[in-house]
C-alpha cells in the first residue's frame, strides 16, 4: 500500500516547464532518495510537495488524502508533510532566539500558550534540540539564531522538522552544510524515523549518503522520473540517467603533483583568539585540500588569507614579499582569490543577471577607462555558462531564478579565469551535481598545473581526496595533519578531524 503518491505533477515558471509530469509512490518507513543534475527540478518538486508552489497540475496524496491547493504550506503540513528546504536562509528567523526558532512552527500554529516569556519556552526548545541529540545550553537557546554558524542553523531547521513527528519528511540537501559528526547523527535520527514508519524523501548529490540511507532511488531528469532502482544500486546507470550525454567522466585517480616554489607562507597564525599558532606553506602548482569538521576554522583560514577577516595573530608572505591584506580588494590586487562558502550571503546579488554577477570581480578589465564594455561582459557571461554547463536561458537571466547548483556554478566559475597566484575555494562543491563536480575538479587541477597555488577547503573528505595533491586536516583552529594525498589513509584523516589520536584508528 502506497502511503505517498505523486501523480503527473507538473510545474512551470511563467510558461517555462520545469516539472513535466512526475509520478512516483513510496511507503511509510521507506527512504526514497531523489537524484538529479543541477536544475533537474528536485527543489521545485519539493516546493510543490510542501505547498510552497501551488499545485498546477496532477495530484499529491498522503494516506489517500490530498492537500487543499488553496491552503499553501499549511495544507501540506496538516497532511503530515514536513520539509527542510535547501536554502537555510529561507527557514531561520533572525532577530528571534534559537529557542523561538526551534519552536517556530508551533508558535505559528498556536500549539504553545499564546502568552509567556522566553524562559517558559526553553524546556520545549530543549526537547526539540534533544530530538537531534543537540545538547545546547540555555545561553545558546536564548541567543539570536543569527549568531549561530550556518551549520548550527541547519541543525535548528532539522530539529524543528523532526520534532513535528511527520508522516513524510522531506529533506533537500540537508547535509551540504554539515560535517561528518552531525551528518551521522542526522542519519541515526532518520533511521529511527524509518523504523517508526515515517516516509522520507531525501535529496542529495552525495552518493555515499544515499548508499547509506536510501531504500530506493529515483532519478529525476528533464522534469520527469527517468528511472528507479532498489538495492543493490547500479551507480553507473544512475549517474548516466542523471546526466545523460554528459555522462560520468570518471576521475578516480589519486593526484600527486608536488609544487616546489612556496607561493604563500603563513607564520605564527592563530585562527581564533584562544587557538595555538601554527605555520603553513602553500606551494605553486599543487592543490592543497583543507578538511576539518564544522567550526574547525577552515573559513577563518580562507577569509584571513583573503584579507576579509584578519587573523587573531600571525604574518604572511606572498612569494618574496610581505603580505598583509587589509581588505579583499587588496588581496585581489595581489592575485589572491577566494570563492566564499555561503553563496547566498556572500556571493549573490539579488536581481543581478548571470553576466553581471560573473563580471563583478574583474570589472576593471572590462572597463579600461571606466566605461563598461557591455558586449565583452556578456560574452564573458556566456563563457561561464558554456564552461560549466550552467542551465540557463541566457547570460541575461537573473541568478535568483537559477537552481541552487547552477547558482553555485556561476559564483565559482566567475573566479576561475586567468592564473591567480593563490586560489582559495571554500566548499566549492556545495550543491553541485557529480558531473559539475568533476568538471570543477578538472578546472581546479588545470589551475594548479598552470602554476597557481590552489586551496580547496571542505568538510567532506572524499571531495578533498578527489581533487587534492596534499591534505591538511584542521581541528580546533590548528593543523593536525599535513600529508600527501597519495600516502595517507582516509581513516587517519577522519580520525585527525575529530582530533582523535590517529594510531588508535590505524
Amino acid at each position: 500500500m502506497a502511503t505517498i503518491e505523486l501523480h503527473d505533477v507538473r510545474h512551470a515558471f511563467g510558461g517555462n516547464p520545469v516539472l513535466r509530469g512526475v509520478s512516483i509512490e513510496w511507503d511509510a518507513g521507506e527512504v526514497l532518495a531523489l537524484m538529479g543534475a543541477n536544475g533537474a527540478g528536485k527543489s521545485t518538486l519539493i516546493k510543490v510537495l510542501a505547498g510552497v508552489h501551488p499545485l498546477q497540475h496532477g495530484r499529491i496524496s498522503v494516506d489517500g488524502a490530498s492537500p487543499d491547493p488553496a491552503d499553501g504550506p499549511q495544507a501540506a503540513r496538516r497532511l503530515g508533510i514536513e520539509t527542510v528546504h535547501q536554502r537555510i536562509d529561507e527557514g531561520v528567523v533572525p532577530g528571534l532566539s534559537v529557542a523561538e526558532n526551534l519552536l517556530f512552527e508551533r508558535i505559528a500554529q498556536g500549539d504553545l500558550p499564546a502568552v509567556g516569556s522566553l524562559r517558559r519556552l526553553l524546556p520545549a526548545a530543549r526537547e526539540v534540540a534533544a530530538g537531534l541529540g543537540l545538547d545546547w545550553s540555555d545561553a545558546v537557546l536564548r541567543g539570536d539564531v543569527h549568531e549561530l554558524g550556518i551549520a548550527d542553523q541547519q541543525l535548528v531547521l532539522l530539529a524543528r522538522a523532526l520534532s513535528r513527528r511527520p508522516k513524510l519528511l522531506v529533506l533537500d540537501e540537508p547535509t551540504s552544510a554539515l560535517s561528518g559528526a552531525e551528518t551521522e547523527r542526522l542519519f541515526g535520527v532518520i533511521d529511527d524515523m524509518r523504523r517508526g514508519g515515517v516516509a522520507v524523501l531525501y535529496v542529495s548529490h552525495r552518493i555515499g549518503e544515499i548508499e547509506r540511507l536510501a531504500d530506493r532511488i529515483a532519478v529525476l531528469r528533464d522534469g520527469s522520473i527517468r528511472s528507479e532502482q532498489t538495492r543493490p544500486y547500479d551507480w553507473q546507470a544512475a549517474v548516466r540517467d542523471m546526466l545523460g550525454e554528459r555522462g560520468a567522466r570518471e576521475l578516480a585517480e589519486v593526484h600527486d603533483r608536488r609544487g616546489d616554489e612556496v607561493a604563500l607562507e603563513l607564520r605564527g597564525v592563530r585562527l581564533f583568539a584562544g587557538a595555538a599558532p601554527f605555520d603553513l606553506e602553500l606551494r605553486r602548482g599543487e592543490v592543497t585540500g583543507v578538511v576539518g569538521l564544522l567550526g574547525a576554522g577552515k573559513s577563518e583560514l580562507a577569509m584571513g588569507v583573503f584579507g576579509a577577516e584578519p587573523f587573531a595573530a600571525g604574518t604572511m608572505r606572498l612569494g618574496d614579499e610581505p603580505y598583509a591584506p587589509t581588505s579583499p580588494a587588496a588581496a585581489v590586487a595581489r592575485e589572491v582569490y577566494l570563492v566564499p562558502e555561503d553563496r547566498a550571503a556572500q556571493a549573490m546579488l539579488p536581481g543581478w543577471s548571470i553576466a553581471r554577477t560573473a563580471s563583478l570581480p574583474f570589472l576593471r578589465a572590462l572597463s579600461p577607462r571606466g566605461v563598461l564594455r557591455r558586449g565583452e561582459e556578456r560574452a564573458d557571461g556566456r563563457d561561464v555558462i558554456d564552461r560549466f554547463d550552467v542551465v540557463a536561458s541566457s547570460e541575461d537571466q537573473g541568478v535568483d531564478a537559477l537552481s541552487g547548483g547552477n547558482q553555485q556554478k556561476v559564483v565559482v566559475g566567475r573566479w576561475l579565469r586567468g592564473q591567480p597566484r593563490v586560489m582559495l575555494l571554500d566548499e566549492p562543491f556545495r550543491g553541485i551535481d557529480i558531473g559539475a563536480r568533476h568538471d570543477l575538479s578538472r578546472r581546479v587541477r588545470e589551475l594548479a598545473a598552470g602554476g597557481s597555488a590552489v586551496v580547496v577547503l571542505a568538510a567532506d573528505v572524499d571531495e578533498v581526496l578527489e581533487v587534492a595533491d596534499r591534505v591538511v586536516v584542521l581541528a580546533e583552529g590548528v593543523p593536525r595533519l599535513d600529508a600527501r594525498t597519495a600516502g595517507v589513509s582516509r581513516d587517519l584523516i577522519v580520525a585527525r578531524m575529530a582530533a582523535l589520536d590517529g594510531e588508535d584508528v590505524a
Binding site: 601554527f278 595533519l481 599535513d482 589520536d501
Partner: protein
C-alpha cells in the same frame, strides 16, 4: 606551532586535542565588559546624566512640575513612536503617522465644534479614523503590494490634503463661522480637554496613557505569540509564510495599530491645543521616526522595541526642556539634539562589535 610536513604514508601524530565532539556552538561573548556595558546602557547613562546635569544647574528644572511637563511633552512623540515601532517590527515604516495625528486633531475638533458632540464621541470617531487609515495603508501594502515607504508616503500626502477639505483649510475653533453663515454650535468639551489636563495623583494623564500603552506594547511584542510572529514577519517573511503564518494579516495589524496609536497621539495633541489646529502634527513624523530608530539601538537589542522607543522620546523631552530652560536659542537645541543622537548612536553601533543582524525585509 610549525607543523612538520607528513610525507608519504607515515602518519605522524600531532598532540592529541581534547577528546570531545567539535560541535560549533555560539559561545556567549566574554571580555570587553566595559564596552558591552556602554553599548547596552550608554544611552540610559546619557539620559540620566543629562537629567542630573539640568537638575543641578537649573533650579526650575528641579521642580516636580517641570519633570512632569517634560514627560507630558514627550508623551505625544512617544505614543506615535510606538506605532512606528510596530510597523518597523514587521519590516516596514509608517510615514503617514504625522498626518494621521494632524487629521485626528481636525476630526476631533470638527466632531465637537461643528457637530456639538461630546468628548467620548470625538474620541471614538478619531480612533476609528486612525484605524481606517491604518487599514487603508494595509490594503495598499498587503493587498496591492506597494512598498511600505511609498504607500505610506502617498497616503501621507492624501491625508494632509483631505483633512483640510471639510474645514476649507482653516483651523477649527469654537465660535467660528460655518460655510452656511451660521456660527459653529459646539466647543471643546471639558472631558475631552481633560485628556491632556487631568492628573492621576501627581502624574499627568497623558503620561499615564503612554505608560500603559508602552507596557501593553512591550507585553504584546515580547510575551505573546502574536508579537513573536510580528518580529518573524519582519525578519524573514518567507520563513514565516512557510511556517504557516498569515504574513499579510500581521503586517496589516501593525499598520492598523500604528494608525490607532497615531490617532491617540493626535487626541492628546488636540486636547492640549484645544482647537482644530491645521498645522498640528507637522513635525511629528521626523521625531517619531527618530525615536523609533533610536529605540532599535539604545538597549543593544538591535531590533525595534517598545522600551527603546519610550527611552528615546524621554531623552528628547529632557533635552528640549532642559535646553529651553537653560536659555539656549532654538537652533542651538537642534544642534544639541543632533549631537546627543549621534552620541547615542556611537554607543550602539560604533562600540558594538556585532553588527545588528536584524534586517527588516526591505524598505522597498
Amino acid at each position: 606551532m610549525a607543523l612538520p610536513e607528513v610525507d608519504g604514508s607515515g602518519a605522524k601524530q600531532t598532540a592529541p586535542g581534547p577528546d570531545k565532539q567539535a560541535v560549533a556552538v555560539a559561545r556567549p561573548s566574554t571580555g570587553a565588559g566595559v564596552r558591552e556595558f556602554a553599548v547596552r546602557y550608554g544611552f540610559i547613562a546619557i539620559t540620566v546624566g543629562l537629567f542630573v546635569f539640568f537638575a543641578v544647574s537649573e533650579e526650575s528644572f528641579r521642580q516636580p512640575s517641570t519633570l512632569f511637563s517634560m514627560l507630558k511633552f514627550a508623551s505625544v512623540v512617544a505614543v506615535v513612536g510606538l506605532g512606528v515601532t510596530l510597523t518597523m517590527v514587521v519590516g516596514g515604516l509608517d510615514l503617514s503617522v504625522g498626518s494621521v495625528a494632524g487629521m485626528s486633531v481636525t476630526i476631533s475638533a470638527m466632531a465637537m465644534v461643528f457637530y456639538a458632540q461630546v468628548g467620548g464621541v470625538a474620541i471614538a470617531v478619531v480612533l476609528l479614523a486612525g484605524a481606517l487609515v491604518g487599514a487603508l495603508n494595509a490594503l495598499l501594502i498587503v493587498v496591492l503590494r506597494i512598498p511600505d515607504l511609498l504607500a505610506t508616503l502617498a497616503s501621507m500626502f492624501v491625508i494632509m490634503g483631505l483633512k483640510l477639505v471639510p474645514v476649507d483649510g482653516q483651523s477649527v475653533s469654537s465660535g467660528m463661522v460655518l460655510r452656511d453663515g451660521s456660527v459653529a454650535p459646539g466647543r471643546f468639551t471639558p472631558d475631552f480637554l481633560a485628556i491632556d489636563r487631568a492628573f492621576l495623583g501627581p502624574v499627568p494623564l497623558p503620561v499615564v496613557i503612554v505608560g500603559l500603552l508602552a507596557v501593553g506594547t512591550w507585553f504584546f511584542l515580547n510575551r505573546t505569540r502574536w508579537g513573536r510572529l510580528m518580529y518573524a514577519v519582519g525578519a524573514n517573511p518567507e520563513a514565516a509564510r512557510l511556517a504557516g503564518v498569515r504574513v499579510g494579516r500581521y503586517r496589516a495589524l501593525a499598520y492598523v495599530l500604528s494608525g490607532v496609536f497615531a490617532a491617540i497621539g493626535g487626541l492628546i495633541l488636540s486636547s492640549r491645543i484645544g482647537q482644530g489646529d491645521i498645522s498640528a502634527g507637522n513635525s511629528l513624523l521626523l521625531d517619531a521616526v527618530a525615536v523609533a530608530l533610536v529605540g532599535t539601538s539604545v538597549l543593544g537589542l538591535g531590533r525595534p522595541n517598545a522600551w527603546g522607543t519610550i527611552l528615546g522620546a524621554v531623552l528628547i523631552g529632557i533635552l528640549i526642556t532642559g535646553l529651553t530652560i537653560t536659555g539656549f536659542p532654538y537652533y542651538g537645541q537642534d544642534i544639541v539634539k543632533g549631537i546627543v543622537l549621534l552620541l547615542a548612536l556611537l554607543f550602539s553601533f560604533t562600540l558594538s562589535r556585532r553588527r545588528s543582524r536584524y534586517a527588516p525585509a526591505a524598505v522597498i
